[in-house]
Amino acid sequence: MSARDAVTTGASGEPVNPGHSARPRQTDYPAEITRAGEQACQASLPCIEAVHLYPTTMNTYGDRGNVAAITRRAAWRGIPLRWHFVELGEAAPEGADLVFIGGGQDRVQGAVAEDLGRRRDWLAAAAASGAVIFGVCAGLQLLGRRYVAADGSELPGLGLFDLETLAAKPGEWRLIGNVVVEVAMPAGPRLLAGFENHGGRTRLGPGSQPLGRVLLGRGNNGTDGTEGVRQGTMLATYLHGPVLPKNAWLTDHLLTLALTHAGGDPAAITPLDDSFELSAQAEAIARAEGDAQAAHGMQEKLVAVARRLRRAI
């Protein structure tokens, strides 16, 4: 069974909009990155059923890197994993172990929000059963309660996370740049490095925990020091870059949860040689640090100039 077949034949139930899925679709995935897992799923081992929602309409910031990270790190350990690529209006399979939603252009977000609204029960059931829901950027915003645009109009979200997002007000900058986040994990704090680029300011309600604490960069809203959100096995972040390849520990965390949901033994998530991943993460952290130092230097210069001016006056 190929990845393309999995999208259509692996689905159960009626497509939300049969007219849409009948059209020839373009897949944005190199077959090679999904093939390895496909073959493994033929065996009798538990297979992770992974769904990428809107792979073509929401793929703006290197999201296929997240798919590659999940796919490769499962394949390197011989863990069967099958991707189902589900576009607007297409049916998604029941019993998914992992659902990923990436970031997209503003133009498509209305259509995506509408489509996602029809999948609310499906997603809520998946989350309740302990499946992984992983959102990046727009994925984070749409899983929250609502998104309020600059003109005051509201885009309803799914309400799976207790959060809401306000578009940048006139005069507010987009939050753009390298980010480093500290994430508390049972075995101790871990670092997450990536790049953020969002106008929306997200505030968490009491029902959701932040994913982590911003060390460098801006985070959910640029003011309260939070980044991302997590709630049970659901997790979302503004970080792209993409976030998973160079933060291998997070990929492994998601894989552990998904494998457990699929009925597999989490001990199968064995250590790998992560020297490339760690170097790339260290490089990203160093860049973020350099940016912070440059900004600090600029600030000091301005303060010095202001002082000199004041003295001159």
Binding site: D28, P30, I33, T60, Y61, E277, S279
Partner: protein, 449 residues
């Protein structure tokens, strides 16, 4: 020219000489930057002196090559032109170009796709605009491609008399051109049935009605034969095309391809790649609009030599290095495809920088179709400020990690490959890395193609 302009011009020239003396490279942008700051009317005053008009080339990829090709054709035809020939395509680069040729009566300017609306307002209404394509590039600075298209639409509303030369194969470009209502010469390629099946594309939905576009063939990112099953928006009829299924690349890199439509002849180029054919088509349509006979334009194109960093080639002893700037997924995909088409063993050097002019956000390298397009290479070295991320990209594309090395400097990368006996090296830098490439290869012998 008027006395009020002498001062800014002298300022820019003095700065240019000073920078050259100081060894800071090609001195193409900085003097203009200062001039812009000091003399806001400078561009406007110069543009007013262009009695024969102004043409601009804009879009994501192919601006520099298209503008350079068109400049060669126009200069061969005896025109006196102002031209920002080093890819310095912001206001500062344009100001610098004017300071070099204050007496020219026609300007052919390559303009950054995001600042085109501003540039047009600062200069004067252009008579012709070439729209090459709109791919994702520098998302951190420019936002998504939709926003650029909106900017172009607003710009064209204010230009009632402009003629457009537009790439029909790019749905967003075609839509902008059609929507503007301005006379348009569409160009494109014919005869291809596939090529970009897996590439990330930025225009997946119909620009008119947001339905998923249907492609009967897609050959380079979103370039292809498309139509909308809902509203009927489709690839517009072309006035000029290349029969790309009959494109022949000779062992020396020379490309020949038959043309159709307005020009019934063969196109001959010394620079490889389908993207180069697109650039030549834009050039032919533009120069023909400007009154140059197509036979004459074809003759000029046949002797076009790439500028540094756009498939330029240098040699030292046995080692041949080909340099091509690749700064976004569409450009890199096309580059990898072109490198892969050249027979023989080869080594690759990726130089990935994330400085402001490159775009701070390097997530674009994950949208490169490495999995399918990375050519068979004996060794790959990555360097630049984000060399480890590029190495990681290669690892996740399935390249054995033993084949990938990272070094902090380009000189070290070249040495490493030379020591390993690699004689055919493809060097693929991002924009700001070109400076280091130029410096490092300064003592090498240029190879004419």
């Amino acid at each position: 020219m008027a006395g009020m302009e002498l001062l800014p011009r002298l300022t820019a020239r003095a700065l240019a000489s000073a920078i050259k003396l100081a060894g800071a490279g090609q001195a193409s942008s900085l003097p203009g930057k200062v001039t812009n700051r000091l003399f806001p009317g400078y561009l406007h005053a110069h543009a007013a002196g262009l009695t024969e008009g102004l043409a601009i080339v804009t879009g994501t990829n192919g601006k520099t090559t298209t503008a350079n090709m068109a400049a060669l054709v126009l200069q061969d035809a005896g025109r006196q032109i102002v031209h920002n020939f080093e890819g310095a395509n912001l206001l500062s680069g344009i100001a610098t170009a004017f300071s070099r040729r204050p007496d020219a009566r026609f300007a052919l300017l390559e303009v950054d796709e995001a600042i085109a609306p501003l540039a047009v307002r600062c200069l004067r209404p252009p008579g012709a605009i070439v729209l090459t394509n709109l791919f994702r590039d520098q998302l951190d600075r420019y936002g998504e491609v939709d926003r650029l298209a909106t900017g172009w639409q607003k710009m064209l509303e204010e230009l009632p008399d402009v003629t457009l030369i537009a790439n029909a194969d790019d749905p967003l470009v075609a839509w902008v051109a059609q929507q503007s209502g301005r006379p348009t010469v569409f160009f494109g390629v014919e005869g291809l049935t596939e090529g970009a099946g897996n590439e990330v594309s930025d225009v997946t939905t119909c620009p008119r009605c947001a339905t998923m576009l249907h492609y009967s063939a897609r050959w380079l990112s979103q370039l292809g034969e498309y139509d909308c099953p809902n509203c009927g928006f489709a690839r517009p009829p072309r006035r000029l095309w290349a029969q790309a299924d009959r494109l022949v690349t000779a062992p020396d890199g020379t490309v020949t391809v038959p043309l159709g439509g307005d020009v019934q002849a063969g196109l001959r180029l010394r620079v490889p790649g389908l993207h180069t054919v697109y650039n030549a088509l834009g050039t032919l349509a533009l120069t023909s609009h400007l009154g140059v006979a197509s036979e004459q334009a074809l003759a000029s194109l046949a002797r076009y030599q790439p500028v540094f960093g756009r498939w330029s080639c240098v040699r030292r002893g046995q080692t041949l290095v080909q340099v091509n700037l690749a700064k976004n997924p569409a450009g890199m995909n096309q580059t990898l495809r072109t490198v892969g088409a050249v027979p023989g063993p080869k080594a690759l050097i990726f130089v990935l920088n994330d400085n402001i002019a490159d775009g701070r956000d390097i997530s674009w390298i994950w949208d490169i179709d490495m999995e399918d397009l990375l050519p068979e290479a004996e060794a790959i070295v990555t360097t630049g400020t984000r060399r480890h991320e590029m190495a990681l990209r290669l690892k996740y594309a399935g390249v054995p990690t033993a084949k990938v090395q990272t070094t902090p400097s380009l000189a070290a990368a070249l040495e490493l490959l030379q020591r390993r006996g690699q004689n055919s090296i493809y060097l693929l830098p991002t924009y700001t890395a070109l400076k280091e490439v130029r410096r490092t290869l300064a003592g090498w012998d240029p190879v004419a193609q």
